[in-house]
């Protein structure tokens, strides 16, 4: 039966796992309890493995990294964020971060699955058979996953700040990590995201210099602008010029812009005839 499942089926199941994580967490919080760290991690890990299987089948079908349309870009971003959560977030020992990660991954994957137009067509051979360009694209998108997780920790920082400023400390506010812990992990994520995106752009620029026509100006400007905005935010944060709520809001707004740019960046590529997915 499993062998009959196509990539989208796997991705649907993964999205449902993330949704279950969100629902279990919400149910625990509504009952006045803290989501179970172990249960949350098991659900997320199961969803992650299933999503990895779905992306693997998609990758096999398209003969490369599945980054050919908005659906795949959203899926890959959610997968990147979950990967980073499982590597870094688990050691953070906050089931609330797991709850928020499950919520984010559920939103991204379900949105991409519920809009068929995003997966109706895809471009083939977008990397021209060049593994370095493929590496550049995958790394760039992985940095978006890092920024997604950063948006979550920044959101938690804002919630913790709100609870302390307004003296509302009971209920699920009490399960949030401390301001300092959230600030620390946010700075680390921002540094990681900027570093990964820098490497990605450095690799991409080497090929762009050789063939400036290969990337259109809109995509180039938008991508560099997002990288520059994150780099500036990191620089300001490290110099103590962007702190507390302003830092939190900046990380969230930048991620919304970055996520919103995926569609335009994808559609800015030269049109190719539609290809039926696997």
């Amino acid at each position: 039966m499993l062998s009959q499942l196509i990539d989208r089926d796997w991705l649907w199941i993964a999205a449902e796992f993330y949704l279950v994580g969100f629902l279990v967490g919400t149910w625990s919080l509504m009952r006045g309890g803290k989501p179970s760290n172990v249960l949350m991690n098991v659900i997320i890990f199961a969803g992650y493995l299933i999503q990895l299987t779905g992306l693997y089948f998609r990758g096999m079908a398209v003969g490369g990294c599945p980054l050919g349309n908005t659906f795949e870009l959203f899926q890959f971003t959610a997968w990147s964020a979950t990967t980073l959560y499982l590597v870094v977030g688990v050691t953070f020992r906050s089931s609330m971060l797991g709850f928020f990660t499950a919520s984010l991954s559920a939103s991204l994957t379900l949105t991409s699955l519920l809009i068929p137009a995003w997966d109706a067509t895809r471009r083939e051979h977008i990397f021209g058979g060049n593994t370095w360009i493929e590496f550049h694209a995958a790394f760039a998108l992985f940095s978006y996953g890092v920024f997604a997780l950063l948006a979550l920790t920044a959101g938690m920082l804002l919630l913790r700040n709100y609870s302390l400023k307004h003296k509302r400390l009971g209920g699920w506010f009490s399960f949030l990590p401390s301001i300092m812990d959230l600030d620390l992990i946010s700075v680390r994520l921002l540094g990681t995201g900027v570093s990964i995106m820098t490497i990605s752009l450095a690799v991409g620029s080497m090929y762009w210099i050789r063939d400036t026509e290969s990337v259109n100006a809109f995509k180039l400007i938008l991508t560099v602008a997002i990288w520059a905005a994150y780099a500036l935010a990191l620089s300001m944060r490290l110099r103590g010029k962007l702190i507390s709520t302003r830092f939190g809001w900046t990380c969230i707004i930048l991620f919304v812009i970055a996520l919103g740019s995926l569609g335009p960046i994808n559609s800015s590529r030269p049109p190719e005839p539609p290809v039926i997915g696997s």
Partner: protein, 347 residues
């Protein structure tokens, strides 16, 4: 049917607690470590006392045991009163004396913090563990008490995990510490400035120390008092007039002076925050009238709590704990019943 000696063997609790014995009585009944040793020796000599364990805290002195006869319990009472030089008839008025199922249920309630003065406090759990370990070491426990105490520990853990009876602090000092945890996480690296050398400030400082804070500086309008408290707290002293210029060097500022007006201005805090990079500042104003300009609370990255704020949180937590009592009692009743069945078969 005339009961035989064997049939009277039972589990008991004998003692006095904060419920019936006021502080001055508990002081007289409280036993030192050496007195505990002496009492243990005397009780060991009672041939009809099979097992026992002595729980001695500031709010209770309780002897848990398995006695073969009712008279054994009377002898224990007599021995205890003699040792403490306390009138037996007076003791009878305030004593707690319960048997069998009720004794089991009582231990489960005590271990879960339900019988404590501060409902839900967890210190009692450790105290019972210590008392039990001591009894085991002295070989005064047996199959009944071993079973009952071990199950009591499991029940207490279950209650703590599955209810909110221990959540939230219920004293002003501990609420302040909990808030500091919400801002800084671990407190080991935090630097604390104590403005005012009064009792409430000292209590708060000690609460911080109990959670790992070690860098404390005391400042008072009377330098001598500041130095005395600093010495008691193993802290350092700071001349009072330098306080505002040093705000940036501290993470937590606890104010409890009797100054007639504000001693920490909003401009001083604003200036300090610019020198602190991203590190937040937590200000606790326990003074009446207030020591800190209330506008400090509006500054970004600073968190200001006054006495009313802390008291309101403590009260909210207390109410939340009380609302959990019924849920805890149900768990305890269910477990006590099962446990009593097991314990009864070992008597």
């Amino acid at each position: 049917m005339i009961p035989t000696e064997k049939q009277q063997t039972g589990l008991f609790v004998l003692g006095a607690t904060h419920h019936n014995a006021p502080l001055e009585v508990r002081e007289k009944l409280s036993i030192s470590e050496s007195a505990n040793e002496q009492l243990h020796t005397k009780l060991s000599n009672l041939s009809t006392l099979r097992e026992f364990s002595i729980l001695n805290t500031c709010n209770r002195i309780e002897i848990y045991g398995v006695a073969e006869t009712e008279d054994t319990i009377r002898q224990i009472q007599q021995l205890f009163c003699e040792q403490q030089d306390f009138a037996e008839d007076e003791f009878a008025k305030i004593c707690l004396s319960i048997r069998d199922f009720d004794a089991v249920q009582h231990l489960l309630s005590v271990a879960s913090g339900l019988d404590s003065q501060l409902i839900g406090e967890t210190e009692i759990f450790g105290q019972i563990k210590d008392a039990y370990a001591q009894a085991q070491e002295r070989k005064s426990t047996g199959p009944v008490l071993n079973k009952v105490f071990q199950k009591a520990f499991q029940t207490a853990k279950h209650v703590r995990t599955n209810t909110s009876i221990t959540s939230g602090q219920v004293s002003v000092a501990n609420v302040a510490v909990e808030l500091a945890n919400s801002i800084f996480g671990e407190l080991t690296d935090t630097r604390i400035l104590l403005l005012g050398a009064g009792e409430i400030g000292e209590k708060t400082a000690r609460a911080f120390q109990s959670r790992g804070a070690s860098s404390i500086t005391v400042s008072s309008r009377h330098l001598e008092r500041a130095m005395n408290l600093a010495s008691a707290l193993d802290a350092t002293a700071l001349p009072f007039e330098l306080r505002e210029g040093h705000i940036a060097n501290f993470d937590i500022i606890v104010c409890s002076t009797a100054a007639p007006g504000s001693i920490i201005s909003v401009s001083a805090v604003r200036e300090a925050l610019t020198r602190r990079s991203a590190r937040p500042l937590f200000l606790i104003d326990l003074a009446m009238p207030r020591d800190i300009d209330f506008r400090v609370g509006d500054l970004s990255n600073s968190y200001l709590y006054n006495l009313d704020d802390l008291a309101a949180i403590a009260e909210e937590n207390r109410t939340a704990r009380e609302s959990e009592i019924e849920k805890c009692q149900l768990i305890i009743a269910e477990r006590a019943e099962a446990l009593w069945k097991q314990a009864e078969s070992r008597l």
